[in-house]
């Protein structure tokens, strides 16, 4: 059974509709990518999953309907959302940012373990744990945002354009870490990306959105060979 299931989801901002019946299915333990141009509805899809935008249709997580639940309640179910453009808390230190991720957790021992694990994935954080996030580089901030999400011990990680504004080498590093984490911890990841090349290599399945609709879906490797994808998103 799919861990996350979107069925005919409609969403928008006031009179402007951003999603016109999007259906997406995410299998547990997999990485799924959503591709599309600016304004295709990628971010809105993630926001409707995490309850940050009102939506119609049906969104279910682990068999339970979560459509239009409060965002903090959805987070508590184990859905960690790393928002677009670095979700770091600028004036808080690296350590405090990570603690915020574990905000709702009561299992202190496990939190400590997860903290160590995050430190192992991002060793530079150990050296800079008392530095405020505002002083980190863009790539480090993105990693910190992911680290904060991991501190929730999530079952589903939503990543919104992790590559935004970063150098190619940093983007590659982040994608590699995400793949490693997904494999090692059996973490399910739904990733929204404009960088189709990297996303298709990291993901097992992918969806292509155009103006609020799914126009293509399938195994990532197949989509990478698909003519229109190659033309529109891979520039080949």
């Amino acid at each position: 059974m799919a861990l996350l299931e979107l069925t005919e989801v409609h969403a928008g901002y006031g009179a402007i509709k951003a999603l016109h019946g999007v259906s997406v299915s995410v299998e547990p333990g997999s990485i799924v990518a959503i591709l599309g141009a600016n304004g295709a509805g990628k971010t809105t899809t993630l926001r409707s999953i995490s309850g940050m935008v009102k939506s119609a249709g049906r969104i279910s997580f682990d068999g339970k309907e979560i459509t239009n639940h409060k965002p903090e309640d959805i987070a508590r179910l184990g859905i960690a959302h790393v928002p677009e453009g670095r979700g770091t808390l600028a004036q808080l230190t690296v350590w405090e940012n990570l603690q915020m991720g574990a905000y709702v957790r009561r299992d202190r021992q496990r939190v400590k373990q997860d903290y160590e694990r995050v430190m192992d994935y991002f060793p530079w954080m150990r050296r800079r744990r008392d530095q405020v996030a505002a002083l980190l580089s863009g790539g480090e901030q993105q990693m910190l945002a992911i680290g904060r999400a991991l501190m929730m011990a999530p079952r589903l990680l939503l990543l919104d354009e992790p590559s935004l504004g970063l150098a190619p080498i940093v983007i590659r590093e982040i994608f590699e870490i995400v793949q490693t984490i997904s494999k090692e911890q059996d973490l399910t990841v739904l990733i929204v990306e404009q960088n189709a090349n990297l996303a298709l290599r990291a993901a097992q399945r992918a969806y292509v959105l155009e103006v609020g609709r799914v126009v293509l879906e399938g195994a990532a490797a197949e989509l990478a060979r698909h003519e229109s994808v190659r033309k529109s998103y891979l520039g080949q």
């Binding site: 987070a75 230190t93 991720g101 505002a134």
Partner: protein
């Protein structure tokens, strides 16, 4: 961080003793008006501390905390001198002060609910409207509030036959209450609650996606901020033994914000510095003969002098006076350690980058 002698942190000790000497010295060496002014400083400390929680730490800009002070002030005035309660009669000050805080907190909570939908400049505007409404509302319901004429109260006399003048007693009481109220604020800001507030300030999206309830923490910040403002308003009324609607004009709300910003936003000690400044700076501006710059004389134009000093502070101390002092201390320490050739002390987070070097960074504000 601290040099220790016999296991005691020397600098903190020296600072604490110096603070105590100043605290006791003020009422003994100043005249009664000045002592009274310093009592008002304490009330401002409390009000600005409350605003710091809301605006400095939670990031919710309020131009309307003067309204919460008004509620606290009038709660005290009406209960203590205008509307005796059945069986109890006029309520003694010892009870009206906490009561003023509670009633103001209730209003703060109610204002916090619609404020959930407003952000940044729009929230500032809405709270601005609140501050504007205070004086007309108080004047309008003059049957209940006493209107323009205001309410006169009995002046607070020192209890237990203490050998103090009225002003010395007010000074002592206000600062004692300020000190007491500092403790929960200090603890709260260092707890989960404080971290949740700062998370909301830095990124609402990130805060919510960590499972933090915006509704809960924002209304909580409003209620607590209003509680502090209510107590401060109550102390003002008791200090002056008089209140009228014009005591709570828009200027009061703006003064709080000015005090907060020049004292140091999101700095625990900022409210004290800010309060001293907003009480004494206008007074000195009024007193001084005026600065003469060739043909331009600022004599008799206190607002201009006040404004110039404010601009200078904002310009040269962008993190407020508390930030400036913090910078001075760090500068002194780094100088001293460099001279000694000792291992450098742990550098505060903000400065670390500069001393580490080598690693790429960018400042995003």
């Amino acid at each position: 961080m601290n040099a220790r002698v016999a296991g005691l942190p020397v600098y903190s000790l020296v600072l604490a003793i110096a603070g105590l000497v100043v605290f006791i010295g003020i009422p003994l060496t100043t005249n009664s008006f000045q002592t009274f002014q310093f009592a008002n400083v304490a009330a401002f400390v409390i009000a600005i501390l409350g605003l710091n929680i809301l605006t400095g730490y939670s990031g919710q800009i309020s131009l309307g905390n003067g309204a919460f002070m008004a509620v606290g002030g009038y709660t005290t005035a009406l209960l203590a001198a205008k509307w005796p309660l059945p069986f109890i009669g006029f309520v003694p000050y010892g009870l009206t002060i906490p009561l003023a805080g509670v009633v103001a907190a209730l209003l703060g909570f109610l204002i916090g609910i619609p404020a959930l939908r407003l952000r940044g400049i729009y929230l500032a505007l809405a709270t601005f409207a609140l501050a504007l409404a205070v004086t007309p509302v108080l004047n309008n319901y003059d049957g209940f509030t006493g209107g323009h004429a205001g309410v006169f109260l009995k002046s607070a006399r020192p209890p237990f036959g203490l050998d103090l003048s009225n002003d010395q007693w007010l000074y002592l009481m206000c600062w004692a209450i300020a000190a007491i109220l500092y403790v929960p604020a200090f603890l709260m800001l260092r707890s989960r609650t404080g971290r949740a507030w700062m998370a909301i300030r830095d990124s609402e999206t990130a805060a919510v996606s960590s499972g933090i309830s915006l509704a809960y923490y924002k209304t909580l910040a409003f209620a607590i901020s209003a509680f502090y403002a209510g107590i401060a308003g109550s102390l003002f009324v008791i200090n002056n033994a008089y209140v009228d609607p014009d005591s709570y004009s828009l200027a009061l709300s703006l003064t709080l914000l000015i005090g907060l910003v020049i004292g140091g936003l999101a700095n625990v000690w900022g409210p004290i510095l800010g309060a001293v400044l907003v009480v004494w700076l206008p007074y000195f501006a009024e007193k001084s003969a005026g600065i003469r710059l060739g043909p331009i004389s600022l004599g008799g134009k206190p607002d201009i002098e006040f404004g110039i000093v404010l601009i200078l502070i904002v310009f040269f101390a962008p993190n407020g006076l508390a930030g400036l002092i913090g910078r001075g201390i760090r500068w002194y320490r780094s100088k001293r350690d460099a001279g000694r050739g000792a291992a450098p002390e742990p550098v505060p987070a903000v400065l670390k980058e500069a001393t580490q070097g080598g690693e790429p960074s960018e400042i995003i504000t």
